[in-house]
Symmetry: C2
Subunit: 274 residues, 2 copies
């Protein structure tokens, strides 16, 4: 999906909500547990319930990999389902990959290749290994790298704020990466729990899309994220995972997920004046 | 595998060689291409040919993931085969994972859990997200985190050498991580192409094992790695991937892989005075 298509989708749905599919067989409703394709059935119900309020879905690879090979089968079915819908959605492999050039090329093929099992629009990438670990992910037309800049967790303070030549590490990552990609193929992860940093980040990447996890279960505020993060093209994808998909563990889980997604969509529409 | 078991294995085989299973269907010998289970059959032949000269095997996850779900099936068969052998080997998932705590826990389950599809001894982890992204991997008894410190690629110079408070980033990673694990559950990736940095690294982590990729195709020297990296318990696992597994693309590929592995093993035995 191109930048222009993403912006149009956001305006049309009046939403920049990304639903995180952190699907955990221990947390899905009891009536689904033990069924064949339980993870896929759960995801399908969540997608059906939220697609009018969300523009993006972000399966977290760890949750599928932890189910073994069967988990990847569930992920493939989920992606096939998303691709089959008449209502489009931007899809993100939350994979946090990154390795030497010839290896990153293989990861890009695994998740972004239109002929592959998954065919995501975007994937999250860790910046520690630098340029040649990142650029192979920009090789697919209309696909995106989402580079970790400032993460939502406590451990973000261990290295991301280390200052060198007057810049914090996450600022160096932002600056440097502008040589590797552009607003049409690179976004950045910025945790909602660090919303006060968004103006510093916007000073470096004013036009780029930011993927913002950390509202809901992790404690970030949507209002603050909008205040500092919105730009003229919206420029945000705000993710909620547990707050939506586990809003209820009963048979009403999909309805409750829709309620939570709708609430966020309405706040987002207001923030964009749409 | 515990530290003591690993050290015993190294002394017994007079080797600290790790064979990187970067198995690429486009590069394996023509007579295997197109066969069912081609990747597994290739790996099995490489393992059989090299196990007397190597102590560790390191499948690079990207190469399996790029084959789609079928690639993970091939990886599972490879791991089952390694676990079935009477000759033990240390197994490393070269996965470069790392995410917020609850997600890293799922990645640890995916690759380290003895009940899982893979049951590796160790996995490589990227440090960018800090403590809570790393510590879940230390939760499995006898299993290991191998944290990226200084990588072998050109992009390593983008961030890993940034200096803050008198320490380069890779040195901060080493220092900080000593609070998260110890010599019995944490190793570090140090690229052979940066062998001159090994004395600085040994000053911070004198007793830790280092996983050293980058000899062979990437240009690092085994002799230099030994000079600066060996400690009293050996303390090194030196990886070669392409130099061994693609030594020939003919029907003699396994014999030629054995030759290359034996050459390295002999240099290693000499370096350890064994």
């Amino acid at each position: 999906m191109t930048r222009q298509e993403l912006i149009s989708l956001i305006r049309e749905r009046k939403s920049f909500l990304c639903v995180g599919l952190d699907t955990d067989l221990a947390k899905i409703p009891a009536h689904l547990q033990g069924q064949p394709d339980a993870a896929f059935l759960f995801n399908k119900a969540i997608i059906d319930a939220t697609i009018d309020y969300a523009v993006a879905y972000k399966p977290n690879l760890a949750f599928y990999e932890s189910m073994g090979i069967e988990g990847l089968v569930q992920l493939k079915k989920t992606m096939q389902y998303l691709h089959s819908l008449s209502k489009p959605a931007f899809t993100i492999a939350d994979a946090k990959r990154g390795d030497i050039g010839n290896t990153s090329k293989q990861y890009a093929k695994a998740f972004l290749d239109p002929q592959g099992d998954f065919n995501f629009d975007a994937m999250t990438i860790a910046p520690y290994m630098g340029e040649d670990s990142v650029t192979p992910f920009t090789a697919y037309e209309g696909k995106w790298v989402i580079l970790l800049a400032l993460t939502s967790n406590k451990g973000a303070f261990d290295f991301q704020f280390l200052e060198s030549n007057g810049k914090r590490l996450f600022e160096s990552v932002l600056e440097k990466s502008k040589q590797w990609g552009n607003e049409n193929n690179m976004m950045y992860v910025v945790g909602a729990t660090k919303a006060d940093m968004l103006s510093d980040i916007r000073a470096i990447v004013p036009g780029s899309f930011l993927l913002v996890p950390g509202i809901g279960a992790q404690g970030g505020s949507l209002e603050e994220v909008c205040r500092y993060g919105l730009n003229n093209d919206c420029g945000l994808l705000v993710n909620s995972s547990r707050g939506i998909i586990y809003a209820s563990d009963g048979i009403d889980f999909a309805d409750r997920a829709a309620d939570e997604a709708r609430k966020l969509q309405q706040q987002m529409a207001a923030a964009m004046n749409l």
